[in-house]
Structure formats: structure tokens, C-alpha cells
């Protein structure tokens, strides 16, 4: 990797000098920091990284530099599923695809020669001149999948069970409501009554709550092993 990065730095120098781009030294610092990470960064994240390395630039300047880097092929811009713009640096001559976990938002990179070749072939069959391609697979990563199986909505809990709240789904206001009434992630709850119809009664410590079924559906719990 190190070798690739220094090669890129050299190219950057030549290209930007040729184009007479201003503030070369500053932009070079940005590139340096950018190349040191293998993550997909948003602009604000990059600014923070720069901050940590002791450089302070205005967001506009950083954004401008990133744009330049995209133009010259040092970086590429990705808009993943939640609409955020993230940048990753491109290893020249190298290419990889992405798998994005919709749950933990983690991005996995992979390379597959077969897919690459197939894409070239497909384009060729259609007599299509391929300039660039992008491949993104969305789904749940293996880690989240493993976690998720053990979680169940509170609504399916049996009377007398002891459970731990793991997650709230649903809108912010419903979640806030539960939080302010003292139901929080990590709380151990006991099921006092659940008739499999209508509301249910749960106890958290010395407090008891009646929950509507809709809301109970949005609380994910895990069995507490005693």
C-alpha cells in the first residue's frame, strides 16, 4: 500500500503543478491525510481527521480539493444508500466493489476478477464502450444478521419471561417518549401480562407500564439467561 501511495503523491505533484493550481502545499497535506485512511469518508469526517493531524482548513477548501482530486482520478465520490456523500481514494489501476450493510452502515470492499471480466464482456456484446462502472450490493452483514436473530419484538414475549431491551425501532418521538418514561436500552424487563391480544403489562424495576401492541412491536428484546 505504502508504495502505491507514494506513487500517487508523485503523480499529484506533477499534475497539479502542470495545471497551476493554487495553494498546492495545503492541498497536498489534504491528499496526504486522505491517502492514509482506507475508509470512505464524508467531508466532515475528513475535516476531523485533518484536525487531528494538526491541520485546520475551511470546509469549502477541503470540498474544493476533494473535487479536484476526483477530477484527476485520485478520489471517487460515492453516494451510498442514505444519500450521504462519501469519498474514497482510488488506487490507480486498481478497482474494487462495495457491499453496504443497511443496518450497521458498514461498507465492505471486495474484488472479483470474474465480475470485472464479465462486465467487460457484457459491455462488448452490446458494443458499449465502458468508461467506468460501479457495483454496490446492499444487505445485512453477517455480524448484524447474527445479532438480529436473537432479537425479537417485545410483543412475542411470554408472560413471566425476563428480557433485556436491545433496540428501539420506529420514529424519534415514540423512542423519546419511552426514554423519558424511563424505558431504556439495556433495561431488564419482566412480562407481567401478555394476552396475545390488546395491551401488555411489563415491569422494569419497581415501575410497571402498559404498552400498546404497536409500540411493543417496536421494542426489540433479548432473553436474559440467568
Amino acid at each position: 500500500m505504502k508504495r502505491v501511495h507514494s506513487q500517487e503523491k508523485e503523480q499529484f505533484k506533477t499534475l497539479f503543478k502542470q495545471e497551476n493550481i493554487d495553494a498546492f502545499e495545503d492541498r497536498f497535506k489534504i491528499l496526504d491525510v486522505f491517502l492514509q485512511t482506507e475508509r470512505h469518508l464524508t467531508i466532515s469526517e475528513l475535516i476531523q481527521l485533518l484536525d487531528e493531524s494538526g491541520y485546520t482548513f475551511t470546509p469549502d477548501f477541503v470540498r474544493d480539493t476533494l473535487k479536484l482530486m476526483c477530477r484527476f482520478g485520485f478520489a471517487s465520490k460515492n453516494r451510498f444508500y442514505n444519500g450521504e456523500v462519501r469519498y474514497e481514494h482510488r488506487h490507480l489501476g486498481q478497482h474494487h466493489d462495495h457491499m453496504i450493510c443497511t443496518k450497521c452502515k458498514h461498507i465492505y470492499e471486495f474484488e472479483d476478477e470474474q465480475i470485472e471480466n464479465m462486465q467487460v464482456q457484457i459491455a462488448a456484446t452490446y458494443n458499449f464502450h465502458m468508461l467506468q462502472h460501479k457495483m454496490e450490493i446492499y444487505g445485512i452483514c453477517s455480524k448484524c444478521l447474527k445479532d438480529h436473530i436473537q432479537l425479537m419484538p417485545l410483543i412475542h414475549a411470554k408472560q413471566g419471561e425476563r428480557l433485556e431491551i436491545k433496540e428501539f425501532t420506529g420514529g424519534a418521538s415514540a423512542r423519546m417518549r419511552l426514554l423519558s418514561m424511563g424505558l431504556r436500552v439495556g433495561d431488564k424487563i419482566d412480562i407481567i401480562t401478555n394476552l396475545n391480544k390488546g395491551q401488555m403489562v411489563v415491569a422494569v424495576g419497581y415501575n410497571r407500564y402498559v404498552l400498546g401492541r404497536g409500540l411493543a412491536q417496536k421494542i426489540l428484546v433479548e432473553t436474559v439467561r440467568s
Binding site: 423519558s180 424511563g182 401480562t193 390488546g198 395491551q199 415491569a203 419497581y206 407500564y209 402498559v210
Partner: protein, 726 residues
């Protein structure tokens, strides 16, 4: 010397013992009203304490100052806009962590806060020890231990409050919640933005405003827009950017992150001040709940309680009812003897006393019923009842919570409709308000008793029960109908706390009972008095009626005829003849009165509306009685008394006989009962509907719907019954 006035607001979580402390401080010197513009109960009380005139305001119980419900908005607005001198935050010591959530929010507003660590005894039995000095130090707040139900610590609390109000205490910045760097950055950016552009037009603490804006608080947003005008748009844009930045950073809504961080801050405090001994006590409330909310036996127990409540109301209430009734009779007889015969006497005895008396009779029932309801509420059983009824209420498309107002409706619809304000969803409230009048209130009961008693004899009880049941069934059908048409509602997320069971304090039971009864008496008393006067006037005038025959002359003739007979008769027959004379005279007098009633204004009105009521088997007299029942349902009975020319005083036996001989059939009586059950709510209830829905439209809708339904149902009963020949 003019005493200095201080205002002290009581804030705290629901069930933190706030109301108990309020009752202890103010006793009976309470004023119950509404918060301006909304229908949340506002309680105030004035007391004198160490040379100060203290105004205590009981804020609605809330979990936070984030405006989810009207209560929370009201509580927050009061602190922000009215700026009480001191806010006492009543903290449930046995539930410190959650209570501190509200406390930290109060801390963020610029106000002088004092903590009352209430229910310290409960906390102690649970093995919880709180270091009050440390808590006071950590948050820079005076802390007082109190035990509300034993009236301990209240004096110290008030003294401290006065002291705090008089001090020029400034909240040290560092004692507030500190959020993580990114959030603090956003907060200070917004603070600067506001400070630079609109510092003067923001009415609140700028940091607090910034925090609330960042939390996307709708009300603060509106307020800021309103106050700052054009710049407001820029501020909101800045907020939008900051929120986006934070969402991007934390991958969650800022308000959730901030709530988490507040709890983090609280966890730090808890660690410092709270020590829990390991002894695990048996939670009695939880065990009780295992029984009372049990899927098999919970419901039968609930039914038993309800049955017991009605039993108590009507059987125990019957005794004082009799005393009051005879008291009123005695009083009016006395007046009849003392006053000279004139129109004023008639007005006083037949108008005012008869009308108002008919309400006073029900005072014992009302008191007992409200006492039972207060008992349900103060022990904590009411919320369990709401839970148990949830399945049934879902038939109507409402939560179990709506059951509470409906239950109260059996007592009186007016407080019942007011009780619907505890419901959060606007649509749920409206729907509950619309169906509550079908719960047969105690005012309708006398009508059933008279009619069923006269026409169904031994089966009267069953018939009356059937009428109550019909009301419930129709409320369910109506609820379903409206839910799927007019008030189609989204199922709002529902969460309600079940308070721990508590032994009620007799003082607060009595205060609650009296609060509601007072309301009932005031409202009903006013309307009924006015209504009785109108009814009396309409029946007493015109004064000079041209009778179809000369009654006075005929009475004279009868008298002279019997006089001569008696003189001629033997000694043994004289008594018998005298009796015959009395009967004949009474008959003529009754006939005269009946004709007078028929020719009065009331009679004329009755004749006009009679065609509307004839298809449901009610004659003109019944029609008039029903019309006057609009004022208050009890008046139906007294109007029938006047029109069916029964005895002067409300003697129910006489009225029953008069009804039986009037040509009314049992099926017509049944139709009339159904009509009384369903038709338009009384004037006090309508006023309550108007107020609580804040709309004339719903009131008019309620009138038309219920009256049409009543007519339709009565028509079915009467025509159907006549057809099958009952």
C-alpha cells in the same frame, strides 16, 4: 403591611406524590380551573407563610419538558412565560433516575429550582439511600426530604422555597448537562448565530433555546419564527444544517443522542449519591398486579368492583336520599302554610323548590359515586381498569384509557366528559366525548324508575338493566361507526404507567370527591334553577284561561248537592257521604288542572311537537316532558308530574297511577325510556362538549346524532312492539 407575594410552582413526574403535597400545603383553599386555552386542569391555592402570601400552582404531572402532550406543553409554558419565583421539583426518591430526567431539563431553563425528595420512606424500605448533601452540591440545588402522605418536611420545604426566592441565586453553568463535543459545538454555533442576529427578540435563555431548536422542538421553533420574523428563517436554516451535520455524525436523531447523554449525566450523579443495599424486598404492588391484571381472574374482579360501586351508590344512597326528599317536602309544606296564596308562592314552591329539590335529592348518589371513583384513582386501580378494558375498548377503536370517562359517565356526563382530557390523541378524545352521553347518567335513572315501576312492576329492575346495556351497546356501535368514517385515527403509540398501589389518604379522597361534586352542583344547580323557572313559567301562564266548563260553579253545585244529602241522611251515612264529596271535588280539581296544563303555553308547545313524537307512542304531555328534559334529565319526571296532573308534590305513587290511567301502554313506556336514554344530552353536558372539543360543530353534531338515533330506536321499539302485539 402589604404582604409580599411569591408564586411557587410544583413540578414532577405523575405519581410522584405531587398532588398529595399540594393538598397538604393548600388544604381546602384550592381553586380548580382550566389553563388558558386548553382543557388541562389548573389547580391553585393561596396560603400565608412567615409573612409571605404564597400562591402555589400544581403543574400537570410530566415525565419531561419535551412537548409530547398538552400537559407537558402547559407545564413548560407556565415556567417559561409566567416565570414563577420558585419551581419545586417533586422527586420520587424511590425512582431517582427517571425523576432526575425531568430535573435536568428544569435545570436547563433559567428558573430557581428546589428539589423535594419525596417518598423518602418508600425509598428507605427498598434499601435505597440518597446522599442529599452531595446531590445538592452536584446540581447546586437545595434539596429537602419530604414524606407527603405523612405531611413531613413540608414546612421546611416552604421555608427553603421562600429563602430561595429571596436570594439572588444564579445557576452555575457547569452544573448543567454537558453534551458531547459535536453537540456542544452545534449548540454554541446556534447560540452565536442567534446572539448575532436576534439576541433581543428571543424571549428565553439562549442556550436553552438553542438546545430545544436542535432537538427539533416544534413549539420553540414556532415561537422563534414568530418573534424574530425574517431572521427566523435563517435561524431555522442554520438549525437544519446543524441537525443534518449531527445526523451524519451520529447516524441518529440529535434528540435521541441528547436524551442518551442526559441519562449519561444522570448516571454519573446516581453513582455519586445513591447507595442501594442488596436486600431485595418483595414488591407488593407487582404481586398484586399479577392477580389484578391476570388474564383469567383480572376481569371478573374488575366487574365485581364496578358492581359494588353501583350497589353502594344506589342502595346506600337511598337512605340519605329519603331524608333529603322528606326534608324538602317538609320545607315546601311549611312554606305553603306560611306564605299567602299568590303567584309568588306558586313560583317558589312549584318552580324553584320542585326543580332544585329534584337535583338535591341526587346529591348523596353523586357523592358516593365520586367517592368510589376517587378511591379507584387514589389506590391506583383506575389505570388497571383501563388496561383490563382495553380489549373491549378496541372494539370501538379506542384505548382502554377511554374507559375511565365512560365509567364516570354513569355518575354524571359532565365530569365524565372533562375526564376525557387525559387522552392524548385529539381524535380519541373527540370520539370518547361523543359516545360518553350514551352512558346512562344518574339523572336519567328517576325517569326509568317511574316508567318501569309503573308499567313493568316486578320486572322493573331487569328492564332498567336492559336500558343501561342498550346504552353501552349503542356506544360501541357508534364508536365503530365514527372510527371508520369521521374520526379515522392512526393508532398512536401507547404507553401508560401503572402507578404502584397506594393506601389512599382520606383527606385527598374527600378533596377529590368534593372537587367533582362541587362542579356538578354548581353547573347543574345553575342550569336546573333556570330550567325550572322556564318550565314553571310556561305551565303557569297564560294566567286567565277560558275553561270549557265553569269548574268553580260545578264544585259549588256538587258541594251544595252533597250538603243537602248529608243533612237529609242518617247519622251513619254522613261520614261516607262526606268522603264521596271529597272525591268528587278532587276529581273536578284534577280535571281543571289538566285542562289548565293543556291550555298553558307548555300545552300549546306540546300540541305543536306532538306529531313528531306520536310515531314513537308518546303523547303531547310526554313530548313536553322530553323537551324540558333538555335542561336536565331529571326534569322529565317533574314535568310529567305537572302535566299528568298528579299530586302537587312529587309523589311517585300518584304519578305512576296517573301514568297508568293516561292510556300509555307498556311498550310506549319502553320507547320513552329508550328515547330518554339516547336523546340529546342535557344543557350542562352540551356546554361541556362545547368546551372540551373547543368546537360548536361537534356539539351540534352530538345533538343531531343522538336525537336522531333516539327517535329511530324508539320508533323501532314502539312500532316493532306494537306489531308483534306486546
Amino acid at each position: 403591611m402589604i404582604q409580599k407575594r411569591l408564586s411557587i410552582a410544583l413540578a414532577g413526574n405523575p405519581n410522584s406524590g405531587k398532588t398529595t403535597i399540594f393538598n397538604n400545603i393548600t388544604g381546602t383553599r384550592q381553586k380548580v380551573g382550566n389553563w388558558p386555552g386548553v382543557t388541562v386542569e389548573k389547580k391553585e391555592g393561596n396560603i400565608n407563610k412567615s409573612g409571605y402570601d404564597l400562591k402555589i400552582i400544581d403543574l400537570p404531572g410530566t415525565y419531561s419538558l419535551t412537548p409530547f402532550s398538552i400537559e407537558e406543553i402547559v407545564a413548560r409554558n407556565f415556567i417559561l412565560d409566567e416565570r414563577p419565583d420558585v419551581v419545586i421539583d417533586i422527586i420520587d426518591a424511590s425512582n431517582l433516575e427517571r425523576s432526575l430526567y425531568l430535573a435536568t431539563q428544569l435545570r436547563e431553563i433559567d428558573c430557581k429550582v428546589l428539589f423535594a425528595l419525596n417518598m423518602a420512606d418508600v425509598a428507605r424500605t427498598r434499601g435505597i439511600k440518597i446522599d442529599d448533601k452531595k446531590l445538592s452540591e452536584l446540581l447546586a440545588v437545595p434539596v429537602v426530604f419530604t414524606i407527603g402522605n405523612k405531611n413531613k418536611g413540608i414546612n421546611t420545604l416552604l421555608k427553603q422555597a421562600i429563602e430561595l426566592a429571596e436570594s439572588d441565586y444564579v445557576i452555575p453553568e457547569k452544573r448543567k448537562v454537558k453534551y458531547s463535543k459535536d453537540i456542544e459545538d452545534s449548540i454554541s454555533k446556534i447560540e452565536h448565530f442567534i446572539g448575532n442576529h436576534a439576541a433581543d427578540s428571543i424571549p428565553y435563555n439562549i442556550r436553552w433555546t438553542a438546545i430545544k431548536l436542535l432537538e427539533d422542538d416544534k413549539i420553540v421553533k414556532e415561537r422563534v419564527l414568530e418573534k424574530t420574523g425574517k431572521i427566523g428563517e435563517d435561524i431555522l436554516r442554520e438549525i437544519h444544517n446543524q441537525r443534518n451535520f449531527l445526523v451524519d455524525r451520529f447516524d441518529d436523531d440529535p434528540e435521541i443522542i441528547m436524551t442518551d447523554e442526559r441519562y449519561g449525566f444522570i448516571a454519573g450523579i446516581i453513582m455519586e449519591v445513591l447507595t442501594t443495599s442488596t436486600k431485595q424486598r418483595v414488591d407488593i404492588s407487582r404481586n398484586v398486579d399479577l392477580v389484578l391484571t391476570n388474564r383469567f381472574i383480572g376481569f371478573p374482579i374488575f366487574i365485581f368492583f364496578i358492581w359494588a360501586m353501583f350497589q353502594l351508590t344506589f342502595s346506600l344512597g337511598a337512605y340519605p336520599m329519603d331524608w333529603i326528599s322528606s326534608g324538602i317536602n317538609l320545607f315546601s309544606t311549611l312554606l305553603a302554610h306560611v306564605l299567602p296564596d299568590n303567584i309568588f308562592k306558586d313560583f317558589l314552591i312549584n318552580g324553584v323548590i320542585a326543580g332544585v329539590g329534584s337535583v338535591m335529592i341526587f346529591l348523596p348518589n353523586i357523592l358516593i359515586l365520586f367517592f368510589c371513583i376517587a378511591l379507584f384513582e387514589d389506590t391506583g386501580y383506575m389505570s388497571r381498569a383501563a388496561f383490563l378494558m382495553d380489549k373491549i375498548m378496541h372494539l370501538i377503536g379506542l384505548h382502554g384509557k377511554s374507559f375511565i370517562p365512560m365509567l364516570m359517565g354513569f355518575g354524571c356526563n359532565v365530569p365524565a366528559i372533562m375526564a376525557s382530557r387525559t387522552l392524548e390523541s385529539e381524535k380519541d378524545r373527540t370520539l370518547t366525548i361523543l359516545i360518553t352521553p350514551f352512558m346512562s347518567c344518574s339523572a336519567r335513572l328517576p325517569v326509568y324508575i317511574i316508567l318501569a315501576g309503573a308499567f313493568f312492576g316486578a320486572k322493573a329492575g331487569t328492564v332498567i338493566f336492559g336500558i343501561y346495556l342498550l346504552g353501552i351497546i349503542l356506544s360501541i356501535i357508534t364508536g365503530r361507526l365514527f372510527r371508520s368514517t369521521l374520526l379515522r385515527g392512526d393508532d398512536a403509540p401507547f404507553v401508560m404507567e401503572l402507578p404502584p398501589y397506594r393506601i389512599p389518604m382520606i383527606k385527598s379522597l374527600l378533596i377529590h370527591m368534593w372537587d367533582r361534586s362541587k362542579l356538578f352542583l354548581k353547573k347543574m344547580g345553575g342550569y336546573i334553577l333556570a330550567g325550572s323557572v322556564v318550565v314553571w313559567t310556561l305551565t303557569a301562564f297564560p294566567h286567565n284561561i277560558s275553561y270549557s266548563k265553569n269548574y268553580d260553579l260545578e264544585i259549588e253545585q256538587v258541594k251544595t248537592y252533597f250538603q243537602t244529602e248529608i243533612e237529609a241522611a242518617q247519622e251513619s251515612d254522613k261520614a261516607l257521604l262526606a268522603q264521596k264529596l271529597d272525591v268528587a271535588v278532587a276529581e273536578l280539581l284534577t280535571e281543571k288542572k289538566a285542562e289548565k296544563a293543556e291550555k298553558s303555553f307548555m300545552g300549546r308547545i306540546g300540541k305543536v311537537v306532538a306529531p313528531i313524537f306520536s310515531p314513537i307512542g308518546i303523547d303531547w304531555r310526554g313530548s313536553v316532558a322530553l323537551l324540558t328534559g333538555f335542561v336536565a334529565k331529571e326534569i322529565v319526571v317533574s314535568t310529567m308530574g305537572i302535566l299528568y296532573a298528579a299530586d302537587e308534590r312529587e309523589n311517585s305513587e300518584a304519578l305512576k297511577n296517573a301514568l297508568l290511567s293516561s292510556g300509555m301502554t307498556p311498550i310506549a313506556a319502553l320507547a320513552m325510556m329508550v328515547f330518554v336514554l339516547l336523546y340529546m344530552p342535557c344543557i350542562a353536558t352540551l356546554a361541556a362538549i362545547r368546551r372540551e372539543t373547543a368546537s360548536l360543530k361537534w356539539m351540534i353534531f352530538s345533538i343531531s346524532y343522538s336525537t336522531l338515533l333516539a327517535w329511530g330506536m324508539a320508533f323501532l321499539v314502539y312500532q316493532g312492539g306494537t306489531m308483534i302485539g306486546v
